[in-house]
């Protein structure tokens, strides 16, 4: 008995050694992440080298990089990457513009600011599904409010989703509406961090508003803007429900994003291995973006310090 107790206290002491304090504190987080996230990731990474299909009883065989080759040479995949790039870039640009303008608006203190700010923040809290469903209804030519309003100016009913450009615009508007508040919060944080005395100095110098903005405000929000771009790019890359509901990838395949295609390959075509390979190509792109994102964060930190 005494022996056991001693061992335990010995182990306890070993564990609580200040040298291991860091590792000990990190352990729970890493354990949960490993079990719930990293392990499944490695599993599907392994699958990407076989020809496994979840709907088949055939024993999977090792295929090396075949799946990667197949995916990278598939025209349909490239087409979807292009679509994704178009949707992501236009949506992020739109979010930036709207988010930036709104941040300028809320950078002042005014009565009821907290309440007005809540009006603008709410879209972020809605589910993707409901945003998709209701924007589709807004765009509907017979029942929709967009067509109703535009009908005052046009003879014909306004049909937004009938052309590839219109369909992309429809998706981008819904996504940008939902997430511009996010960009706004980032920019707002930058704006409020500008020391007041700088503005006072500028005022004394009689600097023009434009000049004040470029020389004082912009440096403070520059990196945060970049942060917003990267974070939103990464998130928009995963855009699925809104596209799936509003256009289902149509007309034709002109709005089918890589996330939608990934879903079809994995869940409808049961090309489990091939979809894993595609997923890893996507992950690779995401990692590159993440690195850019980290670079931006670091730069921001250096700047402020």
């Amino acid at each position: 008995m005494a022996n056991t107790a001693k061992t335990r206290s010995g182990f306890g002491a070993w564990l609580l050694d200040p040298k291991r304090r860091g590792a000990l504190l990190v352990a729970p987080a890493i354990t949960i992440l490993f079990v719930m996230n990293i392990f499944p990731l490695m599993w599907s990474f392994g699958l990407s080298f076989f020809n496994y299909k979840a709907s088949s009883l055939k024993v999977p065989t090792f295929k090396g990089f075949d799946n990667y080759g197949k995916v990278l040479t598939d025209e349909r995949v490239w087409e979807r990457f292009q679509t994704t790039a178009i949707i992501v870039s236009s949506s992020v640009i739109m979010q930036l513009i709207i988010g930036f303008l709104m941040a300028m608006m809320f950078a002042k203190v005014f009565p009821l600011r907290r309440i007005v700010l809540m009006l603008v923040l709410t879209p972020m809290m809605l589910s993707f599904v409901s945003v998709g469903v209701f924007f589709k209804l807004f765009y509907e030519p017979t029942f929709g409010i967009v067509s109703f309003v535009l009908n005052f100016f046009t003879e014909e009913r306004f049909v937004l989703l009938g052309s590839p450009e219109g369909a992309i615009l429809g998706i981008v508007i819904a996504d940008a509406w939902m997430w511009s508040p996010f960009v706004m919060l980032l920019v707002l944080a930058g704006l409020v961090s500008v020391p007041k005395y700088l503005y006072e100095a500028a005022e004394i110098d009689r600097a023009s508003k434009w000049r004040t903005f470029w020389t004082i405000t912009f440096p403070y929000i520059k990196s945060l803007l970049l942060l917003a771009v990267l974070f939103r790019t990464i998130e928009t890359f995963k855009l699925f429900d809104v596209v799936y509901i509003i256009t289902d990838g149509g007309p034709g395949s002109t709005t089918e994003t890589i996330a939608v295609y990934l879903y079809r390959t994995a869940f409808q075509f049961f090309k489990t291995s091939q979809s894993s390979a595609l997923a890893y190509i996507v992950l690779f792109i995401v990692i590159v973006l993440t690195n850019l994102y980290l670079y931006a964060v670091n730069r921001r930190e250096e700047e402020v310090e």
């Binding site: 987080a29 990731l41 809605l126 589910s127 429900d241 993440t290």
Partner: protein
């Protein structure tokens, strides 16, 4: 300790009026959804779209009750349970991620491991992964471990989902604190526990609440994992919401709007209470004094 925001300028009620109009336009789609919750199906699909109508509470009743096919009598829909599940699962997992994340963030900030940045990077990468990639392995794993359909399963998954974000955010708050004060406290004979709980935690409470709100927004509406990994008893609102999207008719706009409206209330309320912290939290703590 509590830092005041330095705003660019102050404005009066006239400014409030202008921003309110813009805010209201931006809010209009949400308002439309909320109004739809009080409409009958024919009002929801009226042409021209109706801004004024006779409101009905039927949709809200249908959230919790629906008519039996054979007898027409009303049956409870379990929606109450799903609301509880959503609040319980999201609350617990975001809370857990906060605790685990705080410990890890403290370590990453104060006792850097060898390869500290690499760990941090890998942790962040897991958050950036399209969820569809890991769904099949996770599903298999949940079945093997018996976690499928249990509260613990989905809570652990959502915790993992929130940890990277929590660590990154909280670490930046710890980074802002001055370690010299902590060292001074250690010199005075404070235990590690006292340094952590007595000195560090109280100073980053604002950051912790911001992390909580952000985690909540990201977890609250999660659909795919919830659909596949929850059972009849642990189902969450976003999954149950899907029943309004098609079946015997297409989208049941009124019912969907009613659920969305009710589901918005808790998160709106929490966000409102923690609004100032959220404003600070979203900067990833990169804005320093």
């Amino acid at each position: 300790m509590v830092r005041k925001h330095r705003e660019i300028g102050k404005a009066g009620w006239g400014y409030t009026a202008t921003t309110s109009i813009i805010g209201f336009i931006y809010f209009f789609p949400v308002l439309w959804i909320i109004l739809t919750a009080f409409k009958t199906r024919t009002d929801a699909l009226a042409t021209p779209p109706k801004l004024f109508f006779t409101p009905t509470l039927d949709n809200f009743t249908s959230v919790f009750y629906r008519a039996s096919i054979t007898t027409g009598s009303s049956q409870a829909t379990d929606m109450g349970l799903y609301f509880f599940n959503s609040i319980f699962i999201a609350g617990t997992s975001v809370g857990l991620a906060l605790i685990v994340g705080t410990l890890a963030a403290y370590a990453f900030s104060r006792f850097p491991l060898r390869g500290n940045d690499t760990y941090l990077f890998i942790i962040l990468t897991t958050r950036m992964m399209p969820p569809i990639v890991v769904i099949i392995p996770i599903f298999l794993m949940f079945r093997l471990s018996g976690l499928a359909g249990t509260y613990w399963g989905i809570i652990l998954l959502y915790t993992a989902f929130n940890i990277p974000f929590s660590i990154w955010l909280i670490k930046s708050f710890f980074d802002e604190l001055n370690p010299e004060i902590e060292d001074a406290a250690r010199m005075d004979g404070s235990t590690e526990g006292r340094v952590f709980f007595g000195f560090c935690i109280p100073q980053i409470l604002a950051g912790l609440s911001a992390t909580f709100v952000f985690g909540l927004i990201l977890t609250w509406n999660e659909f795919l994992f919830a659909l596949l990994l929850t059972g009849v008893e642990t189902r969450t609102v976003p999954v149950a919401m899907a029943r309004t999207l098609g079946g015997e008719v297409g989208v049941d706009y009124g019912l969907l709007a009613a659920i969305v409206t009710l589901f918005l209330i808790p998160i709106f309320f929490v966000t409102f209470l923690l609004q100032n912290q959220l404003l600070r939290g979203v900067t990833f703590g990169t804005v320093k004094k």
